[in-house]
Symmetry: C2
Subunit: 337 residues, 2 copies
């Protein structure tokens, strides 16, 4: 019915739009919500407190080892929900396509979204497509909003870190950012670079079930990296934080790449990792739970919340010095997500 | 703190992002959900069935008589919720900014969003900002997802049109599309062109309260215009539809502009109008309710659902002929919303 490129007509709301919806979107994402083709989806009643989030994805390149803009847009939004302790229920997808974008690539992305949704147990309940003229966009941008619910009595927030809390990081640092960077730059570096993009809500659910109110804070260190996330938590909770450089899990290849490129892994984006702040006595058990799951296989206790110096994040360096950790100031890596 | 243009740093998730959030977004949109600065917003419990929708806005130009991309992005998403009978509760905003976009314009847009939200009685509960390099976007794109609930026992759908239903159009046709087109083309046409962009949920609520199950279908004829919306309803419900050309409200200036430009007002986008399909006996009362409100001042009964010719939409022309109405095929006006 249509050629191999996105046309302005595909964004018209007319017949070409209907073709695109049927031949690509519904083909991969069919479900009763979308099949309705209504202006909005009636989700029905949801028990518990609602949680709502939104994120746009402009990653460049669109395809990379470990994922693509499609899976990233599903997992990234799920993780924003998970960081409040919420179980994701449904997503919306807003596509902004550039005229001339290959329909083959669009379909690859949509089928990746479908697989990611299946893996994560969520459905796409609403969607929209706009097309902008050639040169006014960049292939494809995706906005993914997400709805979840807090079924149990969790109270997870960046403002709930308390003195004595132990800080667990769920896995190795900087995998996503360094993978994107090496792909984009065409640098041939030693090492097996794969994005860590993955959904974290199953891990969070297990932690929540076990820790309950003892689970204080969750944060996924995406843009701005670990350093910025820790500073945000310290600022929101009015506490000091100390981490141990030696305790930070980083893959050797990623560590060398950072050294060669002059980048600090503390500031590089992750897309499948989270910081977990728990009551002191519960940290060992939490760590055990995390390590049993693939998402938390490399989890480590990396530091703790300290009484003194509110809002201040310090790192005890590998050789025993102390370094003040500040939030990211400038953008080292644009379009990482 | 920052200069007068959007920088890549503003999308970094670091300090520049925080400045932008504080100095522009929170300044105009502050509320407890956003002030949290969490990854997602805990909305709490909502009574009734949830309704969810998403829409991206890429309108060109960004500012036009009767609105701008900001107010459009609020009302457009509210109207998608309203077309299922839902009352809007909260919105998310996803900004994709082009490096170099004027912060002055961004603030104008955000303050317009704030005014639109206040007028409509909704809050922005979640947000995200990405920045793409110069030449990879076009100033600003906005995705607005929306959450609403169906408090009463309404059952409104494009598939519920029934033989005998009367079809009411809430006001004059093609105002938004023609306004955008004249702005963009720089054509100096006679007439007072103003977008009809406005929220329709108050009108829908009054109709729902009165009509209950007698309110069958609502649709806002945006992209694709009245013709495409009618075809979608006829297709979803498997019914025939007949409308009367003479009954269609069109402003004289808009009508002349369409003639001069060779455009058919039936296919031009509206942003503050809706089609209302009601049980035959209730149409006069529904019309009265609509005309009492500013959104429905020019409402008119334009046709009815007929028994024969399922899926077929016909128009009785001004001189008494019959014209088959088909959905929009090609895009006459890209980036209208």
């Amino acid at each position: 019915m249509f050629k191999d490129k996105v046309l302005l007509d595909h964004g018209s709301g007319g017949l070409a739009s209907q073709d695109l919806i049927r031949d690509i979107f519904l083909k991969h994402l069919d479900n009763p919500f979308l099949a309705d083709l209504e202006d909005s989806a009636v989700i029905g009643e949801i028990g518990g407190r609602l949680v709502f989030t939104t994120d746009s994805y402009v990653v460049d390149p669109l395809f990379f080892p470990g994922g693509d803009i499609g899976s990233l847009s599903v997992y990234g939004t799920i993780n924003d929900l998970a960081m409040r302790g919420a179980s994701p229920v449904c997503l919306s997808l807003g596509f902004i396509l550039e005229e001339g974008f290959a329909l083959f690539d669009l379909e690859r992305i949509v089928s990746s979204i479908a697989r990611a949704c299946e893996k994560a147990g969520v459905v796409v309940a609403a969607g929209d497509t706009k097309v902008v003229p050639r040169g006014k966009g960049d292939g494809i941008f995706i906005n993914t909003s997400g709805l979840g619910f807090l079924a149990v009595d969790l109270n997870i927030s960046a403002s709930r870190a308390r003195t004595g809390d132990q800080i667990i990081l769920s896995g190795t640092l900087a995998d996503h950012g360094i993978t994107i960077l090496t792909q984009r730059s065409g640098l041939e570096l030693e090492g097996d670079f794969v994005s860590d993009s993955m959904p974290l809500h199953f891990l969070v659910r297990e932690l929540g079930d076990f820790l309950g109110e003892g689970l204080h804070t969750l944060r996924d260190p995406t843009r701005g990296g670990l350093a910025t996330s820790l500073c945000e938590i310290a600022g929101s909770s009015g506490v000091g934080i100390t981490i141990e450089e030696r305790a930070l899990p980083v893959k050797p290849g990623v560590s060398s790449a950072c050294e060669i490129l002059g980048l600090d892994p503390l500031y590089i984006a992750n897309e499948g990792k989270c910081l977990v702040l728990v009551e002191a006595g519960m940290a060992d058990e939490a760590l055990k739970i995390m390590r049993r799951r693939p998402e938390g296989r490399d989890a480590a206790i990396i530091g703790s919340v300290t009484g003194g110096s509110p809002d201040k994040v310090e790192m005890v360096t590998g050789i025993g010095g102390r370094r003040l950790i500040t939030p990211l100031a400038g953008e080292p890596l644009p379009r990482i997500c």
